[in-house]
């Protein structure tokens, strides 16, 4: 597969390490009432979509950027690639 790195352009997916569903960016609040349940859900449950899937890839043999790749799990077609850091900020993550 080819991942079109937002900075480096097209790179072979073999240079990347896969983590999984981009929802892993949305780490729950450790002080919330239901933290235990929220962390269980966060760590273990997946939509596992057949179709468009947002997922985390790490450019291990490259620039060490974490990317959020939007890829169709039935065709492998990639429709969007973003820097995970930007996505994280957009989802309200900070420090």
């Amino acid at each position: 597969m080819i991942i079109n790195h937002p900075l480096l352009g097209p790179r072979d997916a073999a240079e990347f390490t896969y983590l999984g569903d981009a929802s892993m960016i949305d780490r729950p609040d450790w002080q919330a009432e239901d933290a235990a349940e929220a962390f269980y859900d966060y760590a273990y449950l997946r939509d596992n979509l057949a179709g468009e899937h947002r997922e985390l890839w790490y450019h291990e043999a490259g620039d060490r950027s974490w990317l959020v790749v939007t890829r169709d799990t039935t065709t492998h077609e990639i429709s969007k690639v973003e820097l995970a850091r930007d996505v994280a900020r957009a989802r309200g993550r900070s420090k």
């Binding site: 597969m1 960016i25 760590a43 077609e77 994280a88 900020r89 993550r93 900070s94 420090k95």
Partner: protein
């Protein structure tokens, strides 16, 4: 042996004669031949035996679709089983042997299978060999296994080298026949980066096999001229002998270039084959078409061949399979073969055409509305039995029969991403469907454009469309453009054994039986009868099998289904996929800065991930590794030892939020760590299990040097980048690995300070007061070399870790050894390191096994609840905090000489020994020369409350039971006085 079947003309080099051997007989051939054409030239028709019934088989085709003519090529370690004679380029000294026969090709004992074939019908083995139960394993299966298989491996290591390479292009053109050449000319002239690949050693495809003309030239001359022009275009790369084996995601194609298979032997350093990963913007499939057979009684005898193959052999290789040839066809193409052979002086016994309205010919007899109903000849064709329309029969005396059932487009690559071809009624064949790999289009016969002109035209159009070329299309040469309509004719009714898959011995009857037993989907048909599962992957049989299934099902072919193809297009040596990554080069090797020195010292090395580390340093006279290791431990604990710990991962963590960042990735706190101090850090995964441990040294307010275990250096770095970029993107933290930058040595033992004081520059005070336990700092050594000093201890002794730039590591180690002589300094390896950490009760790899929590390892209290750190929440789950969870303990055998077996299970002192009573397991073990006893670490249910308990450590696997006492894991200096000294 003379080449009795050689004709005039052809594209072989008659000026050169080469010698080759088949089944230990010598023959001659010419450059430009394949093994197949050379064997035919020498009137060798019997080449192999079929898989199941061991029937005599000869060549069926002239290409890579060949099911029958497969041999063992070369000898010794270079023997290649199952090699298609039709694709072996002739070279001087070539040696080939027939296979899957015993004792000889002419007389094959297992030929008796053929007599019992009626009992060995499709799937028979599923229905029998069941009684008595034990017999399957002991009797039936061994026999089946010996009979099965085709060629044999040499059982020697493959001596050749293989490369991998990477190429990029705008347009990859797959196949260099008329459409491929025309496409390449169009794209190349337009300035595009083009790669033109073809599996053949000679470009031209069918053009080399035909007597047609292109423009005012003979077809093969036009091809040669096109190749000449293409090789003059710098942006066109020609790759002959290169098979594009697969279409993978996003325009990546796998291609195998056979750089050395046509050479008698490989030049030094040169690869036999290269696996290319070709990155394309667009690709154009010009793979042509494959002629399909007609099934009839005994259609598998040596001499029964595809009509187009006979034509290829005659026109390209100047060879005929026999001086007397008959043709069996359902279309005009078969007549073309007759005409070409006749023109070359071969006697055409007759053309048997199933069509009532077959074209008439005055040079030879044409039998219209006739069918071949049987053939004769045990090891080679002698007679052909023909049924005429009037019901009478005719016997033709001929040595070869050319069969033509029409043509199937080579759609294989269009299916590699599970796209399905569609049925074309006019062609009565499958053509590429709509669901192609992205960026791939198809031209020429592969796309159903069967005429020469159609191929040239669609090649040009295909290239222009793929590259979105503007302007007028190139002028095309004139060429044959006969309309092609194929009326399907799959098999001759009423025959007993008509072969569909000739290699796997699947007959028309087998297909019908498959239907009868309910195996009606195409996949069931293939799996039940093994149709199309042979080394040719059914290139000449799948469609016929499917058509027969459709007929018995009374459905149309598209209703019945399609068969799709998987990579690789043709089989590829496993070595080719491995390339250079083999033997010692299987993985990169990482060497420590003291490696060359350690080698001089005769160290024994051990793999630690990709690293090689000194395991121990034997001295002359030491015969057992234990002697060396015990000595290294004793000397270190008694005076001072040095160990290369460069392999530990080192990560530079800087930024104003560095401390808070570490607070999140470590379970214990780092915010309050003072500058100049180091702290042990425990890292959890989000699921609460221990991920790694190490130290973080605060070199400055905003600068930490973090260490990881050797094994987890890469994954911890990745994890920290994840936390930095994905979880806390607004933290001011910068990370970079410095593992390789610094040569880092542990200097341990009561005299470690004294030794270091001799090399650390005087302006740096490393006394206990100035540089206490867990201190760290930048210093200089040996007169001004920048270095880092950490007062940390893995051994439990007074110890330091000193780091210098890696290029000086070798010199520093030598210096430590020379300066340390007065203290009797000893270098120690990973074994002694392991012994001392076990004596000290430090958890390491065997304990950090990914299923242990901080609580399990006796560090539960380190997990701070006052802050947000990864893993702290899930580490609290009910099952992870139950009272009897595993706890890290020490094991001491009641009799000190009893060995502790890591992986042994703990059982109560009394009671049954079984899984139900399992109490835990031993993780690590060592002999402690300090305690003069074997010792070990274990994870034991409720272990913290069972100190002093006697238990049994059982290892039925190694037949050991040892009585042990549960003790604290801290065997040596539990109070830690030594390391604070």
């Amino acid at each position: 042996m003379t080449q009795s079947n050689r004709l005039s003309g052809g594209q072989i080099d008659r000026n050169t004669t080469v010698n080759f051997r088949f089944d230990n007989r010598s023959y001659t051939a010419h450059p430009g031949d394949t093994l197949a054409s050379a064997l035919l030239a020498n009137d060798v028709r019997l080449i192999g035996r079929s898989f199941k019934y061991h029937r005599p088989r000869g060549l069926l085709t002239a290409g890579s679709e060949e099911p029958n003519g497969i041999v063992e090529l070369r000898t010794g370690a270079r023997k290649e089983p199952n090699t298609r004679a039709t694709t072996i380029e002739m070279f001087d000294g070539l040696e080939a042997t027939s296979q899957n026969r015993w004792p000889s090709l002419k007389f094959d004992a297992l030929g008796v299978n053929d007599l019992f074939s009626n009992f060995l019908s499709a799937g028979f083995y599923y229905k029998t060999f069941m009684w008595p139960a034990a017999f399957w394993e002991k009797v039936y299966e061994p026999i089946i296994r010996r009979a099965a298989g085709l060629g044999s491996l040499s059982m020697e290591d493959d001596p050749d080298e293989y490369d991998k390479g990477f190429r990029h292009c705008d347009l990859l053109i797959i196949g260099a026949g008329p459409s491929g050449l025309m496409a390449a000319l169009t794209a190349g002239r337009a300035g595009a980066d083009v790669i033109l690949a073809d599996e053949d050693f000679q470009f031209g495809g069918r053009l080399n096999s035909e007597t047609l003309s292109v423009g005012d030239q003979n077809a093969s001359d036009w091809a040669a001229q096109a190749v000449a022009e293409l090789s003059s275009i710098p942006n066109v790369r020609l790759m002959p002998r290169t098979t594009v084996i697969g279409a993978f995601d996003h325009g990546i194609y796998g291609a195998v270039e056979r750089t050395g298979d046509h050479l008698p032997s490989l030049p030094a350093g040169k690869p036999r084959q290269i696996l290319w990963r070709i990155y394309t913007k667009k690709a154009l499939l010009c793979a042509g078409a494959t002629e399909r057979p007609i099934a009839f009684e005994n259609n598998d005898r040596p001499g029964v061949m595809m009509a187009s193959a006979l034509r290829t052999y005659a026109n390209r290789f100047a060879v005929t399979a026999s001086s007397r040839v008959a043709i069996f066809t359902n279309n005009d193409d078969g007549h073309r073969t007759a005409a070409d052979l006749h023109a070359k002086g071969v006697h055409i016994c007759a053309v048997v055409d199933v069509r009532e309205d077959a074209p008439v010919n005055y040079d030879y007899e044409v039998l219209s509305g006739a069918k071949v109903i049987d053939t004769k000849g045990r090891l080679g064709l002698t007679f052909v039995e023909v049924a005429l329309p009037d019901g009478s029969t005719r016997t033709l005396d001929c040595g070869a029969l050319g069969v033509s059932g029409g043509w199937n487009p080579n759609v294989h690559l269009t299916c590699h991403q599970r796209g399905r071809p569609v049925w074309n009624e006019a062609l009565a064949a499958f053509v590429p469907g709509s669901n192609l790999p992205v960026g791939l289009t198809v031209a020429g016969a592969a796309n159903g454009r069967m005429s020469t002109f159609g191929a040239l035209q669609s090649g040009a159009e295909g290239a222009a469309a793929a590259l979105d070329l503007k302007g007028a299309p190139p002028k095309l040469p004139e060429a044959e453009d006969a309309p092609v309509a194929q009326k399907p004719f799959w098999y001759v009714e009423g025959c007993k054994r008509a072969w569909v898959d000739q290699q796997n011995d699947v007959t028309v009857k087998d297909v019908k039986l498959s239907y009868q037993e309910g195996f009606r989907s195409v996949e069931h048909l293939k799996r039940y009868t093994t149709l199309g599962m042979a080394t040719d992957q059914g290139k000449t049989s799948n469609i016929t099998g499917l058509a027969i299934m459709a007929e018995v099902a009374g459905k149309s072919i598209p209703e019945t289904g399609t068969t799709i193809f998987r990579p690789p297009y043709t089989p590829v040596p496993i070595s080719t996929f491995a390339g250079r990554m083999k033997g010692q080069e299987f993985h990169p090797t990482r060497l420590t800065p003291s490696h060359h020195w350690a080698k001089e010292r005769g160290a024994v090395f051990v793999e630690a991930g990709n690293w090689l580390r000194a395991q121990w340093f034997p001295l002359p006279g030491e015969t057992h590794w234990r002697e060396s290791v015990d000595r290294e431990v004793r000397q270190t604990r008694a005076s001072v030892g040095v160990c290369d710990c460069t392999t530990l991962g080192k990560i530079d963590v800087q930024g104003t939020d560095a401390a808070e960042f570490l607070n999140r990735v470590y379970a214990n706190g780092f915010a309050k760590l003072a500058v100049g101090k180091t702290r042990y850090g425990l890292m959890l995964r989000e699921d609460g299990m221990v991920m790694d441990d190490g130290t973080a040294a605060r070199m400055a307010e905003d600068h930490f040097v973090v260490t990881t275990t050797t094994a987890n250096a890469v994954s911890v770095y990745r994890h920290m980048e994840f936390v930095r970029q994905c979880l806390f993107p607004d933290m001011d933290v910068q990370l970079i690995s410095t593992t390789d930058s610094w040569a880092q040595y542990a200097v341990a033992g009561p005299n470690s300070r004294k030794l270091l004081q001799k090399i650390v520059d005087p302006e740096f005070d490393i006394s206990n007061e100035a540089f206490p336990f867990m201190a760290c700092g930048n210093i200089t050594v040996c007169g001004g070399l920048r270095a880092r000093l950490f007062r940390i201890s893995f051994s439990g002794e007074l110890a330091f870790e000193i780091a210098v730039p890696a290029r000086y590591g070798d010199a520093l180690m030598r210096r430590l050894m020379s300066e340390g002589e007065e203290f009797d300094v000893v270098p120690y390896g990973t074994e002694a390191l392991g012994v001392m950490r076990i004596e000290k009760g430090h958890a390491a790899g065997n304990e950090l096994n990914g299923t242990t929590t901080a609580l399990n390892l006796g560090m539960g209290k380190m997990v701070s609840k006052k802050k947000d750190s990864i893993g702290s929440i899930l580490s609290e789950r009910e099952a992870l905090v139950e009272p009897d969870v595993l706890r890290l303990v020490g094991l001491k055998p009641v009799s000190p000489e009893d060995k502790i077996t890591p992986g042994g299970h703990l059982m109560n002192a009394a009671g049954p020994v079984d899984a139900a009573n399992d109490q835990g397991y031993a993780t690590s073990a060592a002999y402690s020369p300090i305690l003069n006893s074997n010792i070990g670490l274990a994870l034991l249910k409720d272990g913290a409350n069972r100190l002093g308990e006697k238990m049994r450590l059982v290892s039925p696997l190694t037949d050991l039971t040892v009585e042990v006492e549960i003790v604290s894991a801290h065997f040596v200096d539990p109070e830690g006085e030594r390391l604070r000294a």
